[in-house]
């Protein structure tokens, strides 16, 4: 894989580009506006997280009174010590990491395999097969029959129940298929002349050339598995198998919901998590998945693909 990217003379190309451009005034104005625009947008999307960070580092009294904006008040680190020492949190983190790794790997493989034949227009029955897949984007049997099925397959309360059913994601499959269709037909034809079968063509030519889209879809899968709490809520009751988002959901739900019904159950209202701990947990549950994106970004670099395909 690495040899493929290395083949692109990226540095040479960018140098050439820089030299080649003589920018006109309107283009300079455009650039200034563009940079400023994204600085503003970026600020607006970053500030909520700064606020969460500040809350998680402030005293509970300051948070309850809504006095914390972008800087912590009465700086303390006790919340992080508390959350990071919580066995339930750490256990949930482990489950989430395992689920995300396993789920992404399996789903990416199955989805990328499925997309290949469906990207070939001459595949007999292609239209009906595609409709068979697309149908499931809209129609489903609902929760009850699905739960029964999982129960009969003995999947309830196991980790695989959280990723086996989503191994084929039609949306992602269509995105990959779309990408395959954009690759030149000549690739397949020349490989065929060399006597390669479809499976070899897929693994040795299509997949390596599709790294940008595979990275994208890997990210989609990873984020989906990381963020999923609904399936866990329905299928998992063993506390040792609860993923992080379910843990987080319960931490946050219990405070607002029990307040609503507190007349019935004051005990639970007394046991709600302080807001500073909620803030710390949200951050700690989000940061691991945020790190994935910058890591995948290098696959989006412009020109990797066609530059290397060119005969």
């Amino acid at each position: 894989m690495d040899s493929m990217t290395a083949r692109v003379p990226a540095t040479a190309k960018t140098k050439r580009r820089r030299k080649g451009i003589r920018r006109s005034l309107p283009e300079k104005v455009f650039d200034v506006c563009n940079y400023t625009l994204f600085a503003l947008i970026g600020l607006s999307t970053l500030l909520p997280f700064v606020n969460l960070l500040a809350k998680s580092l402030s005293s509970e009294e300051a948070v309850v009174a809504g006095r914390v904006n972008l800087l912590p008040i009465d700086l303390q680190f006790g919340t992080y010590r508390y959350v990071l020492q919580d066995d339930a949190f750490l256990g949930a983190l482990r489950v989430s990491v395992l689920l995300t790794l396993l789920g992404t790997a399996c789903s990416l493989l199955v989805t990328a395999l499925t997309a290949y034949p469906l990207s070939k227009p001459r595949l007999v029955g292609r239209k009906w097969l595609l409709l068979l897949f697309i149908f499931t984007m809209l129609f489903s049997g609902g929760l009850i029959p699905t739960y029964l099925l999982m129960h009969n397959l003995h999947l309830v309360n196991t980790l695989p129940v959280l990723f086996l059913p989503s191994m084929i994601n039609v949306f992602n499959m269509l995105v990959i298929k779309n990408y395959y269709e954009g690759l030149p037909d000549s690739l397949e034809e020349s490989a065929k002349l060399d006597g390669a079968g479809h499976i070899r063509i897929l693994f040795s030519i299509y997949l390596p050339l599709s790294l940008p889209v595979l990275a994208t879809i890997a990210l989609f899968f990873a984020v989906a598995f990381w963020n999923d709490y609904f399936n866990a809520m329905i299928y998992i009751s063993d506390p040792g198998l609860k993923p992080l988002q379910l843990f987080l959901k319960e931490l946050l739900v219990s405070s607002s919901d029990f307040l609503r019904n507190a007349t019935l159950n004051p005990d639970q209202a007394l046991n709600t998590a302080p807001q500073s701990i909620q803030a710390a947990s949200i951050l700690l549950a989000t940061v691991p998945i945020l790190i994935v994106y910058p890591f995948l970004q290098k696959y989006f670099v412009k020109g990797v693909l066609v530059g290397s395909v060119k005969e």
Binding site: G20, D31, F38, L46, P117, K120, P121, N178, V213, P294
Partner: protein
């Protein structure tokens, strides 16, 4: 519009003998389909009989077989309820607003990002603007309520500088929909650019260089190279977006609305949620879901048809 793959539009209709020949020749293709089809059949189609619940008076303890058939009773209940027309109109209007304003945004954002030449800056921005995708609607709702508050919210303070009276964004049927559209844009635009960013890598950099040689400016390059290059994925996204026109907004609206803006923002999903509180209405909710799915499916099929007719490209 460039079409790199003329075959994708309409394949010639093969005669029967060559059909079998084709299948045999392509047996490896079918082999590759196998895992995907197996997962699909087992996990999606096996439980599909659950759709029938919409036509029954379903009691979970009696099960499928034990519950009586009621025909289209559940659909009639939906269509004949007092607020159905209002709720249907809101659903369609909010979806259309979002389609018109929010569908182009990630495309524009992706192209503008693409024009940022400083790589570190570009990568940082990309990473930062996709952050809100990870916040729940409840948190975002709280955030914007503060921001748009009439008691010292930043936006109203700003408007106050120009002598504008405080606007109760969350409490006004005139403004609430714009709040819905704006917050959805803020939350998902950055995330949605990703799929387009990947598509840029299919564009041959040689094209840009050739264009520059010919003296084409940035706008011309965007218009004649970038946009056509990512048009296949734009078409795909648009068709798929049509399918979720009726269902996408429930979670957001449930987290953000209140009774004073029901008139402008109560949609099918939120309405059914409130009516079903404390009840066991499996059949009714299944019927509503089926209604939404059928419409979504019809929209996707028509979208694909139109796209093939006018753009000569579609999902199938």
């Amino acid at each position: 519009m460039t079409d790199r793959n003329p075959n994708s539009a309409i394949a010639p209709r093969p005669n029967r003998r060559s059909v079998w020949k084709n299948i045999r020749a392509d047996r490896e293709l079918y082999l590759l389909l196998l895992p995907g089809i197996a997962v699909l059949l087992l996990f999606k189609y096996t439980p599909m009989y659950g759709i029938l619940i919409a036509f029954k008076d379903y009691n979970i303890f009696d099960g499928m077989a034990g519950s009586p058939w009621v025909g289209t009773e559940n659909f009639r209940k939906l269509f004949e309820s007092d607020d159905f027309l209002l709720v249907l109109r809101n659903t369609i209007e909010i979806s259309l607003l979002k389609l018109v304003f929010l569908f182009p945004l990630p495309i524009i954002a992706a192209i503008l990002l693409h024009e940022l030449r400083q790589m570190t800056y570009r990568k940082t921005v990309q990473t930062v603007i996709y952050l809100p995708h990870f916040l729940s609607w409840i948190i975002i709702s709280g955030l914007f309520i503060d921001l748009l508050s009439i008691n010292g919210g930043l936006v109203n303070k700003f408007l106050g500088q120009f002598g504008i009276e405080p606007i109760p964004f969350f409490l006004s049927n005139d403004y609430f929909r714009s709040v819905l559209v704006t917050t959805a844009g803020w939350k998902e635009t950055g995330w949605s650019t990703i799929v387009y960013l990947a598509a840029f890598s299919t564009i041959d950099p040689g094209l840009y260089e050739a264009a520059r040689m010919d003296g084409a400016g940035r706008w011309k390059q965007i218009w004649h190279i970038t946009l056509p290059g990512i048009s296949p994925i734009i078409v795909l996204m648009l068709i798929l977006r049509l399918g979720s026109m009726f269902t996408g907004d429930t979670e957001q609206i449930l987290a953000m609305y209140n009774s004073t803006v029901y008139k402008s923002s109560d949609i099918i999903g939120t309405y059914v949620y409130r009516m079903g509180l404390g009840k066991q209405e499996y059949s009714f909710t299944t019927a509503v879901g089926l209604f939404e799915s059928v419409i979504g499916f019809v929209l996707i099929i028509s979208g694909n048809y139109l796209s093939r007719k006018y753009l000569r490209r579609g999902i199938w």
